[in-house]
């Protein structure tokens, strides 16, 4: 995406030269044309449109705009509890989106965050439950997180292997593996032989027993806040990924493979390993997100424990469009909006789905705007 020309001074007259193209002479008309196509303008307009629809929905639900905004704001920043749970959500989203970005650099689209998250969560629960009750946090938590990473990476490796060896589209395979992963969690929490807690009565819920204290993610910040170490893990992951992608040879190789597998192969890059590794790493980060969800209160693996984070993280990754700064920003926005939405329902009796609709609209508008910005001006009447 090229930034528009914003020079105000007229460009110098092109001297007669042997070059085939004359020097740029942006006409005023072109500049006016490109202004509304600037990515930032587009994002702002999209956000504004989404916000307007949100307001209409709030009014339609019979609430006052003012009180609704107050409820939303309180849900987002009103208490350290609100901030803490927002940060937790944002961290999970950021992990999945950072992984998505890595795979995307290698030219692969990982839509399997949900399945990888399920695999990671299941493995984390399995490992956490076999740990002795007195396990120290310094041992338990790293083990649980590592189990999540490995299981998520293994889950993604199935798709990676099919892609590298057989050329099967990773979009299809990762998408379908989601459903298997979700089903696997269901199976695990329903079978006592697997991870279900001991059934003592007909009211025993189909979920795992709680993880031992040493396997639970420690809280950070003040006692009121539910924010856990996942926030730190996510911040480190996003930062490290950003540095690797931008400042190392590995990042450059991933980018080369993503842009042109053929040219990369010609230049001797291990295309299959880079592609497969990128996708596996994406799965690993999603697996850590799953482990974090299991190792956060109520510390159990249950059906629907993923709450659709895998798909929400995918959306964050798509919106961030390859920038890890944007991954952090969009994750925070979505994380805070989600907790705000819950309070919106509690305090202002506006359905929390309003926020989901606004989020989805934001995605739609931005996607539509992409088309608008990338279309070659003048190519069609």
């Amino acid at each position: 995406m090229s930034a528009p020309t914003t020079t105000t001074s007229p460009p110098p007259e092109s001297p007669p030269s042997a070059k085939p193209h004359p020097t740029p002479q942006p006409a005023l008309r072109t500049r006016l044309h490109t202004l509304p196509r600037h990515p930032l303008t587009v994002a702002l307009v999209a956000a504004l449109c989404a916000a307007v629809v949100g307001m209409v929905l709030v009014v339609a639900a019979g609430a006052e705009l003012g009180s609704a905004w107050q409820a939303l704001e309180e849900g987002m920043f009103g208490s350290s509890y609100a901030v803490g749970s927002s940060l937790n959500s944002a961290a999970v989203l950021a992990l999945i989106a950072a992984g998505f970005t890595v795979a995307h650099r290698a030219g692969l689209v990982n839509v399997g965050g949900e399945g990888q998250l399920c695999a990671g969560g299941t493995a984390a629960a399995a490992v956490g439950l076999v740990l002795p009750a007195q396990v120290p946090t310094a041992v338990g938590v790293p083990l649980v997180v590592l189990a999540g990473f490995l299981a998520g990476a293994a889950w993604a490796s199935i798709a990676a292997w099919l892609k590298v060896k057989r050329g099967t589209s990773e979009v299809i395979t990762t998408l379908l593996l989601n459903f298997i992963g979700i089903g696997m969690v269901s199976l695990a929490v329903h079978e006592e032989a697997l991870l279900r807690q001991p059934v003592t009565s007909s009211e025993t819920l189909p979920q795992s027993a709680p993880l031992p204290t040493g396997a639970q993610l420690p809280l950070i910040g003040d006692v009121e806040s539910p924010a856990t170490a996942v926030v730190v893990i996510a911040a480190v992951a996003v930062l490290a990924t950003g540095i690797v992608l931008r400042h190392t040879a590995l990042g450059l190789r991933l980018r080369a493979v993503g842009h042109s597998p053929a040219a990369s192969a010609r230049l001797g890059l291990p295309v299959g390993r880079l592609e497969g590794g990128g996708l596996a790493f994406a799965g690993g980060l999603a697996g850590i997100a799953g482990a974090a969800l299991v190792a956060t209160a109520p510390y159990v693996l249950a059906e629907h424990f993923s709450s659709g984070y895998g798909f929400a993280g995918l959306v964050v990754g798509l919106l961030a469009r390859g920038s890890l700064t944007a991954v952090a920003a969009v994750s925070l926005l979505f994380g805070f909006l989600t907790s705000g939405g819950i309070n919106l329902q509690l305090a202002a009796q506006v359905p929390a789905s309003t926020v989901q609709i606004v989020q989805s609209l934001l995605v739609l508008f931005i996607a539509a705007a992409m088309l608008f910005t990338t279309r070659r001006p003048g190519s069609r009447s």
């Binding site: 070059k19 193209h21 004359p22 072109t30 980018r255 010609r266």
Partner: protein, 591 residues
């Protein structure tokens, strides 16, 4: 009489780049008007503006005296303007007849018959379009355009993919269309075609009209300076070849061959085969010169002849040797059929042929992106048949791929990154990070050495012109140490004359340094002027070799290209294609 097309002050900008900058052009009815120019001169943009596939920013068009402003291709068709695009638009799985029916024209059979009678364009309606040779496919495209009985026909670079005979037929068709009273705009960057077929010519350079006039008053010598802005005398014969001039038009470069002693080791000093005419001792065009010069390339007849029977050192001694390489396509046909060749050290071997006769597969086998079903690829004694590209590069095989944007470079990455992608390990800081400053310095050095015009070391590759992109690719491959063999496919395709010259100079320099060079090109003139030996790809086989300096070499290669082996091919040169059984090339494969 009114002109068929009158263009006044046409301007078209892409962002800040002016593709057309006030172009004026008048095309008379009943004439073939050639639009000439280098790549990026604005030829295609002009075509698209006339055919309605893009709208111009300023300027006006008059079609037979009426104002004409097409906003979409349908407008152009309705006004009687048809365009034959550079790339074919046929559904390859449908038959020719079905493809024509897609146009949904009334009285199709009648129209086809009229076109056949008027222009002699015969079509086999039941043939599947995808299985036809390119020349025939192009004929279908032209018939498609003519079925609407257009008043103006625009042909955008129609001869790019055609062999010599097909090109002749196309130019003949253009003449007939003009003779029928229509106007033809023929866009090309090959001067020879324009001189042969055009009534008028207009030369574009940098989006402006550089000159033009009736063809009778123009000659190749006058057109070339208009196209490139300097005189033809400064050009080299191969460059003239690349633009389609007869080689006689400029002084040919003398052949300098490497003696037999050079085989097996990189010669310490090889006579430079530079473009300076001083390099030729016995005037290069004389047929006997090749032989009288004595040192016939050591491998001159190895591909077709049986002279190397039992000589096991041959494959190991050559820079690059291919034996019995066979590649089958998915449908069971042979893309390569026991292809064998040898490239000696310091030798330039060319592969001619109409596209699609196995050249692409041959290069893929050499480059390592395609594993042959059978046969061996040997680089200076090392068997690389199944080696990964990295191992091939390490062994000293430089490859300039056919498709620059697909395989040659990553257009989205910077010049520096493209140059050093294969050896990023050499640019590390603190053991982990990429040392961009060092990368930039190394790149600046290469850019200077190879005279690459780039906005900077970290400018995206896509921001460079095609010629400069190719210079970067070649610089990268020539930087191999040691460079045993350079395999270049279509190294000058789509480049303008100045860049062609630079690329040829680099290829010659590589050979002069002792590396073997294999050049695959669709431009026969280029091969004739550049190579020591020319093989011809025909249906997956490599025929020949032909000595490009011998008399009638062009005709012999032309005959081999269309499979007319025997006809006009003296015995001993056109060794008949290997037949199943004891073949001449078996001798190589046996080791």
């Amino acid at each position: 009489m009114t002109a068929a097309l009158e263009i006044t002050g046409l301007v078209k900008s892409y962002g800040s780049m002016r593709a057309l900058d006030g172009v004026d052009l008048v095309v008379e009815a009943g004439t073939v008007h050639c639009v000439l120019g280098e790549n990026g001169a604005g030829k295609s943009t002009l075509c698209h503006a006339v055919a309605g596939s893009l709208t111009s920013d300023e300027g006006s068009l008059l079609l037979y005296g009426e104002s004409y402003a097409p906003r979409r291709p349908a407008d152009a068709l309705a006004a009687g303007v048809a365009m034959v695009h550079q790339h074919f638009s046929l559904v390859s799985t449908l038959t020719v007849g079905e493809n024509l029916r897609l146009l949904r024209l009334p009285d199709l059979a009648g129209r086809i018959a009229r076109v056949r009678e008027a222009y002699g364009l015969v079509l086999e309606l039941d043939a599947v379009a995808g299985k036809l040779p390119v020349g025939v496919r192009q004929r279908v495209e032209i018939v498609k355009a003519l079925l609407r009985d257009p008043r103006l026909l625009v042909l955008d670079e129609p001869t790019g993919v055609l062999g010599p005979a097909e090109t002749d037929a196309l130019l003949e068709t253009c003449r007939r269309i003009a003779a029928a009273g229509h106007a033809v705009v023929l866009v090309t960057h090959k001067l020879g075609e324009a001189v042969r077929a055009g009534d008028h010519a207009t030369v574009l350079r940098g989006g402006r009209v550089a000159g033009g006039g009736p063809m009778a008053e123009l000659s190749a010598e006058r057109l070339v300076p208009l196209m490139i802005g300097r005189s033809v005398g400064a050009l080299d014969a191969t460059v003239a070849g690349a633009v389609g001039l007869e080689p006689g038009a400029v002084e040919p470069v003398g052949p300098v061959t490497v003696g037999p002693g050079a085989a097996g080791s990189v010669p310490a000093a090889v006579e430079p085969r530079g473009s300076a005419p001083a390099a030729l001792d016995s005037a290069g065009s004389a047929p006997a010169a090749g032989e009288s010069a004595g040192p016939v390339p050591v491998t001159a007849d190895s591909a077709g002849g049986g002279a190397d029977d039992g000589d096991g050192q041959r494959v190991g001694g050559a820079a690059l040797g291919l034996s019995e390489v066979t590649v089958r396509r998915a449908d069971g046909t042979y893309a390569l059929d026991r292809a064998a060749l040898e490239v000696g050290f310091g030798e330039i071997v060319g592969i001619a042929g109409v596209e699609g006769n196995g050249q692409s597969e041959l290069m893929a086998v050499i480059a390592g992106s395609l594993a042959p079903d059978d046969g061996r690829v040997v680089l200076h004694g090392r068997d690389l048949t199944r080696a990964k590209p990295a191992a091939r590069t390490g062994a000293g095989l430089g490859v300039v791929p056919e498709d620059r944007h697909h395989e040659g470079c990553v257009p989205e990455l910077s010049v520096a990154e493209n140059l050093h992608l294969g050896r990023l390990g050499e640019f590390k800081r603190f053991g982990v990070f990429l040392d961009r400053p060092a990368l930039g310095r190394a790149t600046e050095k290469v850019l200077g050495e190879h005279d690459v015009r780039a906005p900077g070391a970290f400018a995206p590759m896509a921001s460079l012109s095609g010629g400069n992109q190719q210079k970067v690719v070649i610089a990268r491959e020539l930087a191999l140490d040691p460079l045993v063999c350079l395999a270049a496919s279509q190294p000058t395709r789509g480049l303008d004359i100045g860049a062609v010259e630079a690329v040829h100079a680099r290829i010659r320099a590589a050979a002069a340094r002792g590396a073997g060079v294999l050049v695959v090109s669709a431009e026969l003139d280029e091969l004739l002027a550049l190579c020591d030996r020319v093989l011809v790809a025909y249906r997956g086989r490599l025929l020949g070799p032909v000595d490009p300096r011998a008399e009638g070499a062009r005709e012999r290669i032309g005959a081999l290209m269309v499979g007319a082996d025997g006809a006009g091919v003296p015995a001993g040169v056109g060794q008949s294609p290997p037949t199943r059984g004891p073949s001449p090339s078996k001798a190589i494969g046996a080791h």
